[in-house]
């Protein structure tokens, strides 16, 4: 297999070490994320998902262990610059990550920081806005946009920096269903057509079933990982971790416990229908 793009090696992280508010948020994470993958991260509140995300681009660095991004150690101050260019990050609150007064200026913010010449910034802004389908809104100001549109602008603001991977920390948590659809559609398209690696952190089960890999976190550790099918075969385990499973999976699980002959790990309606017809 290819070289991992992001590699966590025995990562531990403590907030406020040495104080009484000390908290071990990550407790021994080993995780590889490969180029082109779509990885979904699930976990209950406070399980350390955001902390994990912030380790991907050196916003936080491990207390022990190390994180390598394309071979560069995030603890290396000289590499931070390169790392932030490689890994983009989108946050939960769409309002609190847009800096400029118009959409196009905001998308240009990253490239400006990178010191890209003005001509090329123009081209990158055009390209990034097209990639998220927001080119009609270039001169709008952020407060005129819906939540889903703001998140797409935030994603465009990352794309204009040409990252190889985008880490999204619950980008859909504050959006309505329409906004969620827009954002999910956008990041899947970026993954498929632009080959951008996606790490998608979420609470919504239906947003993970199309991922290549699902990582389940509890209490700062990785409890389980694998394809959506494998992971959702463990309905009992997931429930014991206070996690939901997709509705279809829950239904199949109940049908099975009532004696129907259904396989494990059904995650889509089509699959269930097919299995029901066969049995």
């Amino acid at each position: 297999m290819a070289k991992p793009l992001i590699r966590f090696e025995g990562v531990h992280f403590r907030y406020n070490p040495g104080t009484e508010r000390e908290w071990a948020a990550l407790q021994g994470i080993d995780l590889d994320i490969y180029p082109g993958e779509f990885v979904a991260v699930l976990g209950h509140n406070g399980s350390g998902k955001s902390t994990l995300a912030k380790h991907c681009n050196a916003l936080l660095v491990p207390s022990s262990g190390r994180v390598l991004v394309d071979g560069l150690d995030t603890k290396d101050d000289a590499a931070v610059w390169q790392i932030r260019q490689t890994i983009g990050m989108v946050f939960q609150n769409p309002d609190n990550q847009l800096v400029a007064t118009t959409v196009e200026e905001d998308v240009a913010f990253g490239p400006e920081n990178l010191g890209i010449p003005s001509k090329e910034i123009q081209a990158r802004v055009d390209e990034a806005l097209r990639a998220v389908g927001m080119e009609a809104y270039r001169l709008h100001s952020p407060h005129q946009l819906s939540g889903g549109q703001k998140q797409r602008v935030a994603i465009a603001g990352m794309i204009s920096m040409r990252p190889r991977c985008i880490v999204l920390d619950e980008p859909t948590a504050m959006l309505d269903p329409e906004g969620r659809r827009e954002v999910m559609h956008t990041i899947h398209r970026l993954n498929e057509t632009e080959k951008i690696t996606i790490v998608h952190i979420t609470h919504h089960m239906d947003e993970v079933i199309n991922a290549d890999r699902v990582v389940i976190m509890t209490d700062g550790k990785i409890a389980l990982q694998g394809t959506p099918k494998d992971v959702f075969s463990n309905v009992e385990l997931l429930r014991s971790l206070h996690l939901d499973v997709p509705q279809v999976t829950a239904l199949s699980h109940r049908l099975r416990s009532r004696g129907l002959n259904l396989p494990d790990g059904i995650i889509t309606v089509d699959e269930l229908v097919e299995c029901l017809c066969q049995s």
């Binding site: 916003l59 932030r84 800096v99 200026e105 913010f109 920081n113 123009q122």
Partner: protein
Amino acid sequence: MALFKNITIGQYIPGNSAIHRLDPRTKIIGTVLLIVLLFMVDSFLGYALAAVAIFGIVQLSEIPWRIILRGLRPLFVILLLTVSLHLFMTEGTPIFRIWFIEVTWEGLFRGVMMGVRLALLVMGTSLLTLTTSPINLTDGIESLLKPGKRIGVPAHELAMMMTIALRFIPTLLEEAEKIMKAQMARGADFQSGGLMQRAKSLIPLLVPLFVNAFRRADDLAIAMEARGYRGGEGRTKFKELHFGQADAIALGVSIAFVVLVGVLF
């Protein structure tokens, strides 16, 4: 209820007039020159010439007069106060007197002059914000302050602060409105009572607003860092400012005008 609908900030009117197209630096310097001029002149003819110049610029900017005059409205009380103060308080040849209040020719003259000066000042400066987008304005200020960097003027930081303020004012107003409605739904009353009462009733509005503002600031700082922000050093500009021929001409004419009118009148 639209509590904050009538507040306009950065009241930029997009357009493509000769004034719109000028470099923001030209317009900022021009505005400063105008202010200087209005404090230099001290004669009727001087004001008349300044007024003619402003009227000319308004015509060129293609901004409707309606909008220019609207900018004077919040000033009405101050204007009235200034005029009447001068009217009643200046000593000289009396026109008439009621009881102990005496109106003099000199007072009338001074009052009208001060009123005109204020009105022209506001019209002139509002032309700057009406024809210049907030981004251009901050870029212009940053560029003009840059030479001051060596003596410690934080040019980039000031411009960044202005941009962020402009970006978040609508967001915070929206939030204030939301909190206000939520509090009103629970029976809060922001409208009645004396001054103290009303000031007190604002506390449950301001506390959550401030707490949220600090959280936003925290989030924004992290987001900016994630986007590679590390201060103004080595940063480029998406839209570079361009000081062209039209700017040179406009600036030259302005300086000549101010020197001439300022010195002669």
